[in-house]
């Protein structure tokens, strides 16, 4: 399918939600029985939640507001690593794994469109990643509210900071998924796909790091502007990746002529 056709398919609303749901259901059922995915989904959030909590509770209170701000910013950046790394790992293996197991070709013989398959796989990676990340954020904020020193709590619970976290979690996950899927449709090996997928998902974190380290002062306006930027990046990534899904190349490892 040419790039123009793929984009036309999306624009004309020919995406069948039943097929997308079928892909999501199958993927989620498969994850639940996959020890590697389950292990990653369990261990990674615990590690990435423990570190910020320790960091916040050991923060000195006799430092300047700027120093405390920087510490809180870097701590909360940790919470954004899970919605980046987790879905990137899952998405990066989702197509190449099916190729290796021989399950992709039977799927492609059905009426499912490339866009439906990609959206289904993206949602299946997005839903658990965002759920886990919001749960982590909730637990972290609750712990800070209940047990942290008032000075630290005041800095951590600033409105723009929380808004940025809430907006950035799904948007960063979205970028990570498209980056992972882009790697997955091109890669021929699962391990290479995992490594490249994780690497490709990291660049947008740099933007959030600028806010975390107060290079850009966090405010509601800045948080929303960056969120809109990330959203545009996600849409652009999807539009670039959908045409990369070349059925002929995926089946024969040769590009369609």
């Amino acid at each position: 399918m040419s790039a123009i056709r793929a984009i036309q398919a999306v624009r004309s609303g020919r995406i069948d939600s039943t097929r997308v749901r079928a892909v999501v259901r199958k993927e989620v059922t498969d994850y639940r029985r996959n020890r590697f995915v389950l292990g990653t989904m369990t261990v990674l959030p615990i590690l990435f939640l423990a570190n910020p909590i320790i960091n916040i509770f050991t923060a000195p209170t006799n430092v300047s507001h700027t120093a405390l701000d920087a510490r809180v910013g870097s701590t909360m950046l940790f919470l954004l690593l899970v919605p980046v790394i987790l879905p990137a790992t899952i998405a990066a293996t989702s197509i190449v794994n099916e190729r290796e197991q021989g399950t992709l070709e039977p799927v492609l013989t059905t009426p499912v469109r490339s866009e439906e398959l990609l959206i289904g796989k993206a949602l299946a990676a997005l839903i658990p990643a965002v759920t886990i990340a919001y749960t982590m954020l909730g637990i972290f904020l609750l712990m800070v509210k209940l047990f942290a020193h008032q000075q630290v709590a005041d800095v951590t619970l600033e409105g723009p900071r929380i808004l940025a976290q809430v907006l950035f979690i799904p948007l960063l996950a979205g970028w990570a998924i498209w980056a992972g899927l882009a790697v997955s449709v091109r890669a021929n090996d699962v391990r290479v796909a995992q490594q490249l997928g994780t690497l490709a998902s990291l660049p947008p974190l740099a933007i959030t790091a600028l806010m975390a380290f107060n290079v850009i002062t966090p405010s509601f306006r800045v948080a929303v502007l960056f969120a809109v930027g990330l959203l545009l990046l996600d849409v652009l990534a999807y539009r670039l990746i959908a045409p990369m899904f070349d059925r002929e190349r995926l089946i024969t490892a040769r590009r369609a002529k």
Partner: protein
């Protein structure tokens, strides 16, 4: 149900596919009637799977045209064509961590079919897997997985069912099960296009066969192909060699020639076995030969296949 060529469900016209400088198949033309079981034979690398993938809209042909289930084989029709057909790939490609039913449910969703439960039940009944519906697919034997793969192709009631080497790697009992399924589907009027290396199964199951070796070498009913390629003949076996076989066989009505059979006995080329056989028997009795048997020589589809493929090998060596 009998197949009819008045109502072709698959028409292929000069289809060619190249990958760079390599030709997968070239200038392939044939048509398949509704309800026909059509065998597609050829050696490894002959282009059989690529042809099936092309007709299933997975691969774009380089040139030529085709009509699949009433629709022109174009990118615009790809989704609609895939709704009307089903392809069973050589490996069944099941999700090992999902149960048989979960695998089938996934495909019911991909086909966007209503009454999914009923369809799954019907498909499992057809392949005798109802009692294994909840089994996890990784625990199934290869034969059972193949049957799940077949059940999956029945979900959408396809007009054309493409089976790519459906008995590959199966033991004879499991292969027999697949044969019975194909026969059952033919009786229900499903058009079946299947590739195979097993020539005996093609001969037993197919209304017509085509032999592909990058180009289409021949097409027709197995009996027609035998007659096209081989002279009709009689095989005579005697307890002891004839003293003067030339005197016995030469000049008999309907007998065009004879030669000793390396396996013992004699092979006679005849114009019509029904005319020649009584004459040969009379001549043998007259010659006081100890006749063990007189029968029509049978060339199998395998003989036809080997004859054509060997021609290609010899041509390539020249």
């Amino acid at each position: 149900m009998t197949a009819t060529m008045d109502d072709p469900v698959l028409v292929v016209d000069k289809l060619t596919k190249t990958f760079g400088s390599r030709t997968a198949y070239s200038d392939v033309s044939f048509s398949v009637g509704r309800g026909e079981v059509f065998g597609f034979l050829g050696p490894n690398g002959a282009g059989k799977t690529t042809t099936v993938r092309s007709l299933g809209t997975l691969i774009t042909p380089t040139s030529g045209k085709a009509t699949v289930a009433g629709l022109a084989l174009t990118a615009d029709n790809a989704v609609e064509i895939r709704k009307r057909i089903a392809i069973m790939t050589e490996a069944p490609g099941l999700y090992g961590r999902l149960s048989v039913t979960e695998n089938l449910k996934y495909f019911v969703g991909l086909y966007h079919l209503s009454d999914g439960e009923q369809r799954i039940k019907k498909a499992l009944d057809a392949v005798n897997l109802t009692d294994r519906a909840q089994d996890i697919c990784s625990s199934l034997s290869k034969g059972l997985r193949q049957r799940v793969g077949l059940a999956r192709t029945l979900l959408n009631d396809p007009e054309i069912l493409f089976l790519d080497e459906p008995t590959s790697g199966l033991d004879p009992v499991a292969a027999r099960g697949v044969h019975d399924l194909i026969t059952g589907l033919r009786d229900r009027g499903v058009t079946i296009f299947f590739t195979t290396h097993r020539l005996a199964e093609a001969e037993a199951l197919c209304d017509r066969v085509a032999i592909l070796n990058t180009t289409l070498r021949t097409i027709g009913r197995p009996s027609e192909l035998r007659e096209q390629l081989f002279n009709r003949g009689l095989v005579v076996t005697t307890a002891t060699p004839l003293a003067d076989p030339a005197r016995v066989f030469t000049g008999l009505p309907g007998v065009e020639g004879w030669e000793p059979d390396p396996a013992g006995g004699y092979r006679l080329a005849v114009s019509d076995p029904a005319v020649a056989a009584p004459e040969v028997v009379r001549a043998l009795v007259h010659a006081e030969a100890d006749v063990l048997s007189v029968g029509e020589s049978r060339h199998s589809l395998e003989d036809v296949y080997l004859e054509l493929v060997n021609e290609d090998v010899e041509a390539n060596q020249r």
